[in-house]
């Protein structure tokens, strides 16, 4: 009996906590819920207007439809698929990754990588004239007398050496 006296208040506290964590069922989805999906869709009849900000009567009907489907328990993906089935894939703000749509995802990164490669090659090319240890392959004697460029060296280097000689 003594145990029961202690046990009852503890159970009551837990019961109160349990009730406190229960959420009220809201049958009407909020505007935020609707717009969260609507902004991922585009108006099929207006030019480049996301559904959440589209002011036309048709868009209002589609937002009402989203609300209706949410209230019916549909998931975001199901609603988006419904819109695709009804109005085509062009209503999606993000094109599906199928067929030629892949170009949208592949071309920009490929072009970026190609650009980086071109840049790297361009910036690396002047260093090609350097030796493997990073020192100039055209060395200058310690006494200051310039060494003639070795046979087969670049004309440009030869001309440069000539100019330096003239200045000295």
């Amino acid at each position: 009996m003594k145990k029961l006296i202690w046990f009852t208040p503890i159970m009551l506290v837990f019961a109160a906590l349990w009730v406190g964590t229960a959420f009220a069922q809201d049958p009407t989805p909020s505007d935020d819920d609707v717009n969260r999906i609507a902004k991922q869709l585009f108006c099929p009849v207006c030019e480049n207007t996301p559904l959440d900000v589209c002011p036309t009567q048709a868009c209002a009907q589609w937002r009402a439809l989203i609300r209706e489907k949410l209230a019916a328990g549909w998931t975001e993906e199901q609603i988006k698929q419904y819109f695709v089935d009804q109005y085509g894939a062009r209503v999606l703000s993000e094109p599906p990754r199928t067929g030629l749509n892949w170009l949208v995802y592949l071309v920009p990164p490929v072009l970026f990588v190609v650009g980086v490669i071109i840049l790297v090659r361009t910036f690396r090319s002047p260093k090609e004239s350097k030796g493997g240890d990073g020192t100039d392959s055209i060395s200058t004697p310690t006494d200051g007398t310039p060494v003639q460029p070795a046979a087969g060296s670049d004309d440009y280097v030869a001309r440069l050496e000539e100019e330096l000689k003239k200045r000295n």
Binding site: A58, T135, S137
Partner: protein, 194 residues
């Protein structure tokens, strides 16, 4: 004495390999081709008079079936004159011609050689049904699922109406609403007379 005196190795020009160049150019030309195709398609107007009507299957709304069938295939209507009207419940100009289209349908329905099809363009079904009831429309109607039919006809808006002859060729296109019942009947009668 020098700090270092290696011989300058002959500079080998490092170009982009030929196969990479070919690949890049082929890719660029391919992309340009795709862009050109897309632009060409977007610049095209609607299908033209004299063209063969693009075939399609229309899934009808319940209570708006064609001869009890929930699907109508245009090619199966060969031998009949077909009037295809693109509309939407949100389209105000469509309301101007709704009653006339229904009146024309009721006039030709008993003969059986003229079929009216309503294609509901990017719409929601409850509103579409409300529109059909409001104008007491009885001819077969259905949604343009995935906008496949409107894309095939390359419509520029609603309302647009296409008159198809018995051979499946487009004979008249009405862009915008009809002004009168006579306008509809004169086109249909001219096709019936052929």
């Amino acid at each position: 004495m020098t700090q270092s005196n290696p011989e300058i190795a002959p500079q080998k020009k490092r170009g982009v390999p030929l196969w990479v160049q070919v690949l890049v150019w082929a890719g660029l030309i391919g992309l340009l081709g795709l862009v050109a195709l897309g632009l060409n398609r977007s610049q095209q107007g609607t299908v033209q008079v004299g063209d063969k009507a693009p075939d399609f299957t229309l899934a009808t709304f319940s209570n708006y079936e064609y001869n009890g069938a929930s699907q109508v295939k245009l090619s199966e209507l060969k031998g009949k004159i077909v009037v295809i009207n693109f509309w939407a419940s949100w389209c105000k100009p469509c309301e101007q011609e709704a009653a006339e289209l229904e009146e024309a349908w009721r006039a030709y329905q008993p003969e059986g050689d003229v079929v009216f099809l309503g294609v509901d363009y990017v719409d929601t079904e409850p509103e579409a049904r409300g529109y059909l009831e409001k104008f007491s429309i009885t001819y077969p109607n259905g949604a343009d699922l995935g906008t496949r039919i409107s894309q095939a006809f390359r419509i520029k808006g609603v309302p647009e109406t296409y008159f198809i002859d018995r051979d499946g060729m487009i004979q008249y296109i009405q862009v915008g609403p009809f002004q009168s019942l006579d306008q509809i009947q004169s086109v249909v009668d001219s096709l019936k007379a052929k």
